[in-house]
């Protein structure tokens, strides 16, 4: 938005800027305008962001600093208040991190985390894409709308509800076991089987969120120009060729973006969901890094060690996001942020 000289002069003058502001979207950044004038001009906007910034400061940035407890021998009972306790706790350097290397449970949690991530990547990730292609193949708008309405629904259920629904279906007293027993077969309990646990939670994830994931892909499909289909049909491409050469390439950027996001979250797999089912199958099969931190820190009061595990998880998570994004850029996709 370019400004006429008149506008600029008006802004340079000391008159209150309210009525002379010309541009709404792009505030003119003029070198001539002193900072205090611009601060004065934009004070309402800054004021508006203030509550959010305070919340972020308190619940995102201060906890970041709170990670210092990983380098301490934090004792919650040393003072009345957590902040005072942090100030008074003795420093121990990297002791907790050294301990982590020799901690069998930590490595087991890491292994479980990665195993669940790989399962998600191979079993969960393709489902929304396939569903979107399937829904998209229906021509009647009514059918598509109803299908979407039903498939979106579970996304809005809480994990407690989803896990409970699964227990009622696949648990020892669940509907399927119940029907099997009535017909003289042996019942079964999927919910307490440690061997199948990782598949169970992936299955739950698909039930809950695959339908929701469809939205993005459907939108990408809707954005494809019909001219392309028409032209290729004229050239004699059958429906499978059209799918291969037009539909799938149209999904490519979205798939790349979501893959990046997924890989970036590789170490954060279904925390709440797993926590709810942890007791049913035992920590051996279900413990992931997040639940390990919760168990060591919150349940058993090992705050310092748990914070150390959390830091390692955070650092590797950040590296994964940056790395995955780099790969996306190399592939010629945009990724999460631009170069």
């Amino acid at each position: 938005m370019s400004l006429s000289t008149d506008d600029r002069r008006a802004q340079d003058s000391r008159t209150p800027p309210v009525k002379t502001r010309a541009a709404a979207g792009d505030r003119p950044v003029t070198k001539e305008m002193p900072l205090r004038h611009r601060l004065r001009r934009d004070r309402t906007l800054i004021l508006m962001t203030l509550p959010a910034m305070v919340l972020l400061l308190v619940f995102a940035y201060i906890p970041l600093a709170g990670n210092v407890v990983a380098f301490q021998d934090y004792d919650p009972y040393i003072a009345d208040n957590a902040f005072q306790a942090i100030a008074q706790s003795p420093w121990v350097g990297f002791e907790w991190f050294q301990q982590m290397v020799n901690d069998r449970l930590f490595w087991s949690a890491l292994r479980n985390t990665l195993a669940i991530f790989l399962l998600q990547l191979t079993l969960f990730f393709p489902v929304p894409i396939l569903l979107a292609l399937f829904i998209n193949s229906f021509v009647r708008p009514r059918v598509r709308a109803v299908a979407q309405a039903i498939l979106y629904l579970p996304h809005f259920f809480s994990w407690v509800l989803v896990v409970t629904v699964f227990q009622q279906m696949f648990g020892g007293a669940g509907l399927i076991a119940q029907t099997l027993r009535e017909n003289g077969h042996e019942g079964f309990d999927l919910m307490t089987d440690p061997g199948l646990f990782k598949f169970l939670i992936t299955f739950e994830m698909i039930w809950k969120d695959a339908g929701w994931g469809v939205i993005v892909f459907l939108a990408a499909l809707a954005a494809v120009s019909p001219d392309l289909y028409e032209a290729s049909a004229m050239d004699g491409a059958n429906r499978w060729r059209r799918m291969w050469h037009i539909t799938l390439p149209a999904l490519r950027p979205v798939v790349a973006l979501l893959l990046v996001l997924q890989v970036g979250n590789a170490l954060t797999v279904g925390f709440e969901q797993i926590l709810l089912q942890r007791t049913a199958v035992g920590p051996g099969a279900s413990e992931v890094l997040d639940t390990y931190v919760w168990n060591v820190g919150i349940t058993n009061g090992g705050f310092s060690y748990a914070a150390a595990v959390g830091i390692i998880k955070g650092i590797f998570g950040l590296l994964l996001v940056l790395g995955a994004n780099k790969v996306a850029h190399l592939m010629g996709e945009q990724g999460v942020y631009k170069k």
Partner: protein, 311 residues
């Protein structure tokens, strides 16, 4: 969606009047039928468990005993379980707490998010970039569970409803969606209002917000569902059982198979099935979400896309 099809340079009515682009081959009958069956099966996979839960919650002790557990075909509908649950006691209290936390939390989150999104939507304002970066950076790091817990504890929020609202009040992604939408609303209107002497608050309230109803509805639903579904914060910050919200009580009643306080006698005397009570709690947790989301549904795509593309 129809409008998308009419631009194809011609559509032809199919066998039963449906609209199909001219270049598409007529599908075979068996192909259509099998596609339909698969679609119905997929939808049933979502709906059937919910159906069973609802039907069981409405069944009498006799029906449940006859079925040997969960009920699939409704017979002898009764509302006893709901009457008992909502007639005072632990579940009623938990449901009220959940409703209050959801309403208050959502209003708070929306107010803060909308203000922040608008404040950051005027590019070129002073401090615009640093504030934006300050916000965006939080998307790349999570402070971690333990330090967050310590901060909430240090602020003295444990065993207070504020612990259920404040730590998770903001979702940066939601703010980005709002901001992207605010930036795309007609700037001419905003400009003319400014010339007429309207301040930023007035512009936001009278011009930008009415124009952004769709996205505001979607984000409100997202926040509301977040508060309604939350159970983890309560599980670590709330130790008083009388302060627990519905999801936590449901967790105790159904997953941990604890008997609801105050209802044990009714269940033991055989007037009420424990299973029906458990299913009724699930239905209570399900109702608001199942009823609200269809109203907002038509705006999902819009909201999601603005976020995905510009965020």
């Amino acid at each position: 969606m129809l409008s998308g099809l009419t631009g194809l340079g011609g559509v032809k009515p199919g066998t039963r009047g449906r609209l199909r682009p001219v270049w598409e081959e007529e599908p075979s009958k068996t192909g259509l039928a099998s596609k339909g069956v698969v679609m119905v099966l997929i939808c049933l996979a979502v709906l059937f468990p919910l159906w069973v839960v609802i039907v069981t919650s409405l069944s009498s002790v006799k029906t449940i005993t006859e079925a040997g557990g969960l009920v699939v075909i409704p017979r002898g509908i009764t509302f006893v379980a709901y009457q008992e649950l909502l007639g005072g006691g632990q579940v009623t209290r938990a449901a009220l707490i959940s409703v209050c936390v959801t309403v208050v939390g959502t209003l708070f989150s929306m107010a803060v998010s909308i203000l922040c999104a608008y404040g950051l939507s005027r590019t070129g304002s002073v401090l615009h970039r640093p504030l934006l970066v300050f916000m965006l950076a939080t998307m790349f790091f999570g402070a971690g569970l333990i330090p967050t817990y310590l901060v909430v504890q240090g602020l003295g929020l444990t065993d207070s409803y504020l612990a259920l609202i404040l730590p998770s009040a903001l979702n940066v992604f939601n703010i980005l969606v709002l901001r992207a939408f605010f930036m795309s609303t007609a700037q001419e209107l905003v400009e003319s209002a400014r010339i007429d002497g309207a301040g930023d608050f007035r512009i936001l309230w009278q011009i930008v917000m009415p124009l952004s109803r769709a996205v505001i509805a979607v984000i409100t639903l997202f926040y509301a569902v977040g508060y309604w579904s939350a159970w983890f914060n309560a599980s670590i910050y709330i130790s008083d059982p009388d302060m627990l919200p519905l999801q936590n009580v449901m967790n105790q009643l159904v997953l941990k198979q604890e008997r609801p306080t105050g209802l044990t006698q009714v269940i033991n005397t055989g007037h009420l099935s424990l299973l029906a009570v458990q299913m009724a709690v699930m239905v209570l947790a399900l109702i608001p979400v199942a009823f609200l989301s269809p109203f907002v549904q038509k705006h999902f795509k819009e909201g999601m896309l603005t976020g995905a593309v510009k965020g």
